[in-house]
């Protein structure tokens, strides 16, 4: 089972420059996917989640276009072939 992770340019540098990563998620959940991603790319993992494992406040994750905040958060299902997008939310100044 493989899903595709799509990264914004600013994070791609932390994954060897790749904006698209093929990842095999553990357990078929977003949490498992991010665990695998962090194990392979620790600095990238820290940008997305803090050390408690929570997705950072101003980071948004979409699975096949659906915001995971309304799909169970880290427990959200990540089916085979899904596209998982990581995006910065609209914030800042």
């Amino acid at each position: 089972m493989t899903v595709q992770v799509v990264l914004p340019g600013v994070l791609a540098d932390l994954a060897g420059g790749a904006k698209h990563l093929d990842v095999e998620p553990a357990g078929g959940t977003l949490g498992g996917l991010l665990d695998v991603l962090a194990a392979e790319h620790p600095a990238l993992g820290r940008r997305i989640r803090d050390e408690t494992g929570q997705v950072r406040r101003f980071v948004r994750v979409f699975v096949d276009g659906e915001d995971v905040r309304w799909q169970g958060g880290l427990a959200a299902a990540v089916p085979d072939g899904a596209v998982v997008q990581v995006l910065p939310s609209i914030a800042g100044g």
Binding site: R46, R47, P88, A91
Partner: protein, 360 residues
């Protein structure tokens, strides 16, 4: 001879160099552009000076980065230099202080962070360990966050002993005499006008503390109302605010070479965080706070801004250099111990931290 001035702002870090004993400064291109740089440390104990920066990657969280080539390249520990252990259930919110220790502890660097925590590195700032003695202190759950957040913002390791002093807004001063194992609050004499009990054991809003050059037990504190001095390592504090136009403010700095000399930058009050009459001024004492002298030359009038706690520092030059960064993006430097100032740069983002050091 080269002097380095590091300017951390809300949107990046700037490094300025002086080759003429701090008469003129050359500002480089921005580093870490668009990242908040709330803490800066310059470690001159190494073969090559190391610049440490506590940054906020905007959406992507806080981190510590370091450069051994004056910003040409930056390194970051993959797993994070400051990382809360899992059992704490906490997550790093911001790095507020990066403080290299003394020359005889060459790889030790301290970090003060939000949430209230103290960290110690023994590898020059690549990785830090949580100081459990302070984290586990029974008072910690009751320390209040200030407007900027709840953090250890001041770390003062005593070069001659195992004493470490920390300060927190909404927590006060705590001191360890054994290098960080045990901690006790030392706030007697520091007022807390914002609390029903005016003289609590802890909970004071201490904005910054600086150590005197001559006496390891002597320190100066700029409080949330009040300027104080201790001569007994914090066990008691006395007001030294007489002679100042206001006793509110954020920074205090002490001379690293001349005992009894310190500087503050008064603001009107907590509900009016601007210089009195809009005139930005530095005030200096040469007699441990008995009297104060205003420094005006080179500092602006009609400056409705403020100087944050770490946007003020001194260097180790002779005479001592004094550096002032403002929330409206200006940095002023003095090479005569605060008698006169010159504008180094303006139109930067809000200045959060300045640090200066003489490089070999």
């Amino acid at each position: 001879m080269t002097d380095l001035l590091a300017i951390g702002t809300r949107k990046g870090l700037w490094l300025a160099l002086s080759e003429d004993d701090r008469r003129t400064w050359t500002l480089g291109e921005p580093h870490l552009l668009a990242q908040e740089v709330a803490a800066v440390g310059i470690d001159t104990r190494r073969d090559r000076p190391r610049v440490l920066a506590g940054i906020q990657y905007g959406h992507w969280g806080p981190s510590v980065v370091r450069s051994d080539d004056l910003g040409a390249t930056w390194q970051e520990t993959d797993e994070g230099a400051v990382r809360f252990p899992a059992d704490t259930g906490a997550a790093l919110a911001r790095v507020w202080q990066l403080r290299p220790d003394s020359a005889d502890r060459p790889d030790v660097v301290w970090a003060g962070c939000e949430p209230h925590s103290l960290w110690r590195s023994t590898d020059g700032g690549c990785t830090f360990d949580l100081v459990r003695g302070l984290w586990d202190h029974p008072h910690r759950p009751t320390w209040e966050p200030g407007a900027g957040g709840g953090a250890v913002h001041t770390v003062l390791p005593d070069p001659g002993s195992d004493r470490v002093t920390v300060a927190m807004s909404g927590g006060g001063v705590y001191v360890s005499e054994d290098g960080g194992g045990g901690w006790e609050p030392r706030n007697r004499g520091i007022s807390a006008v914002f609390l029903p009990e005016p003289a609590p054991e802890y909970g004071q809003c201490v904005h910054k503390v600086a150590a005197d050059a001559g006496d390891p037990g002597r320190m100066y504190a700029q409080n949330h109302f009040g300027v104080f001095r201790t001569d007994d390592a914090g066990r008691s504090w006395t007001s030294i605010a007489d002679g100042l136009p206001a006793d509110f403010g954020f920074p205090v700095a002490a001379s690293p070479r001349t005992p009894g000399t310190a500087w503050v930058v008064p603001l009107v009050a907590d509900m009016e965080r601007v210089p009195p009459a809009g005139r930005l001024r530095v005030h200096r004492t040469r007699d441990v706070g008995a009297t104060w002298t205003e420094s005006a030359a080179g500092l602006p009038d009609a400056a409705w801004t403020a100087v944050l706690r770490d946007a003020f520092c001194v260097d180790e030059g002779d005479p001592t250099g004094v550096y002032v960064g403002t929330r409206d993006g200006c940095v002023y430097a003095s090479r005569d111990e605060g008698e006169t100032f010159e504008l180094v740069v303006d139109h930067l983002p809000d200045v959060l931290a300045v640090r200066a050091a003489r490089l070999a």
